[in-house]
């Protein structure tokens, strides 16, 4: 494998369209993912996140557009391509009589012939079970696992072949806060230690902000924003909100230069209390962008948005 981790594009989607009958789900999705990146796909329900990721996984054939993942078209990629790509599925009730250990060992055996220098396949079963935190349930029947434990197993199945590229569709749905924290640690570990490139969808903006090097927002069938959480926030508004109280009275002021404003404020008044500076959060950004695109959708909306915020 190439050592050029910074610029090598391994997912390239250009003008991807998906139509079911007369219903256009994706109207022209374009983006790239570089090796080693963690990219989050955000979007409202029905925006086409799952459709997009299923096209990349090779589970769905697009109506139009070009898609390349690890130098192959996913829908027609040979089986050896599967050894490089991990897919975390939302399981439901499959393999009820198996245990996490037997299932992971079994599925791992398919990857044995695909070991590469520096990438031994599959993961050792015990190590993998430990990584996803299922040690205590490893020999329990899968049907007895809780929803969160089942999702951990889904993640383990997705990475059992030590993939170069990992797709996760809403991986933390149903996780409690501890499980969510553990999962974030696992993603960081995969990204940092295994150099796994990761593309995940989520509804959780906080999660997107914590995990992703880059965030893509999918709305009205296309990508309406692409950048780090910071960049996106700046694109919607450069104003920050300054809040404080004086004499038990609350004040709020919006300003593009919060630092200068606060310096003046403190110089002028000596009784400023409960000072708070708040930049636009990813949530503000997200809501603003999605509303704009879903209400008055026009082909030029993306450009218009950028211009108004400049």
């Amino acid at each position: 494998m190439s050592m050029n981790h910074t610029s090598e594009t391994i997912v390239e989607v250009s003008d991807l369209q998906m139509r079911y009958g007369t219903n256009d789900v994706l109207t022209g999705v374009s983006f790239t993912v570089n090796r080693g990146e963690v990219v989050t796909l955000l979007g409202p329900n029905g925006a086409g996140k799952t459709t997009t990721i299923e096209v990349l996984e090779g589970f769905r054939i697009p109506s139009a557009g070009s898609v390349r993942v690890l130098d192959e078209q996913p829908a027609t990629a040979p089986e050896k391509w599967r050894a490089q790509v991990g897919v975390v599925l939302q399981s439901w009730r499959d393999h009820p009589r198996w245990t996490p250990r037997t299932l992971l060992k079994h599925l791992g055996e398919y990857y044995v012939p695909f070991t590469e220098p520096g990438r031994e396949r599959p993961y050792d079963t015990d190590q993998l079970i430990d990584m996803v935190g299922l040690s205590e349930q490893a020999d329990q029947k899968i049907r007895t696992l809780s929803g969160g434990q089942r999702r951990r197993l889904d993640v383990a199945v997705g990475i059992v072949g030590r993939p170069q590229l990992l797709f996760l569709d809403e991986p933390t749905a149903g996780f409690d806060p501890q499980a969510r924290r553990d999962f974030h640690d696992l993603i960081h570990r995969l990204s940092d230690l295994e150099e796994t490139t990761i593309l995940l969808t989520t509804h959780d903006l906080d999660e997107a902000e914590k995990l992703a090097d880059r965030i893509l927002i999918l709305a009205a069938g296309r990508i309406v924003a692409d950048g780090s959480a910071d960049e996106l926030a700046r694109r919607v508004t450069r104003e920050a909100e300054v809040r404080w109280t004086r004499n038990e009275e609350q004040f709020v002021h919006s300003t593009p230069d919060a630092t200068a404003y606060v310096r003046d404020l403190l110089a002028q008044h000596h009784d400023v209390a409960e000072l708070e500076v708040r930049r636009a959060t990813l949530e503000d950004t997200y809501i603003a962008m999605v509303q704009q695109f879903e209400s008055g959708y026009a082909p030029d909306a993306a450009l218009a948005l950028e211009e108004t915020t400049r």
């Binding site: 996984e57 589970f59 599967r82 439901w92 079994h106 398919y110 695909f114 997705g158």
Partner: protein
Amino acid sequence: MNPVRNAVRTGARRGWFEFKQSLRSPQDQGFYVFMALAILGYLFMNRNNTVDFDQASFSYITLALPGILAGLIAFGLVMGPGYALAMEREDGTLLRAKAVPYGIVGHISGHVVSNTLGLVPTFGIILVPAAFIFDNVMPQGGSGWLTVLGVTILGILAMLPLGLALGASVPSVQKMGTWGMLPFVGLIAISGIFVPMQSLWAWVQVVAQFFPVYWLALGMRSAFLPEAFAAYEIGGSWRTGMTVAVLLAWAIVGLVVAPRLLRRMARRQSGSAVEAAKEQALQWVR
């Protein structure tokens, strides 16, 4: 290491594991053991009945067993994998298989192993007492049992691909009754397994001879019944060569058609398809 051979071996181990699981599952074995014991009980009650034919006389059990064995093979290897595959398409098992390299190849080889082994418990419960407790069940002795083995293998080869093809193409588990069970029970009814075929209309006999179930039952009868009994069959003979040819032909057709249907099925597998099936199933529960 060749990845395809590796997948076939991995899948075969999967089939063995599934078989062991089903042996331990009271739910699975309950049905088969109950059915086998019911059949055994029926045979036991009729153990002293004899059939007189051409001055010879043989046990009623000898007359009943060929149809029972043929029925078990046909039913077990068509409906068994048919239902299992239709279920696995909906519960996400197949999607998991699709997501790993050569996973579908392995999965199917697992079905071949588990469904074939699945015949062992029922056959054992019926045949072991039949051979050792009842008198003179197999007038033809050892060569007759060899014929049973040969016909069983041919029957598996002819039936299993049909079952896989059915499971791959039926729209949903709920539709299995209409698309699978109904036509299949109809086929069994006209194939001379439980009702002598000669009592049916001539055109029905012609239709039945196009399908493998009739030939499977004929082959089984040729193993158990005395040579003279062949006079009762169509053409007045066991038609052994024809039996082998038709069952092999169905096996070959199955091996050509089933992989195509399985590939088509695999192509259509996606997370959203599983999700849609889940929604559908949840509506049924309500």
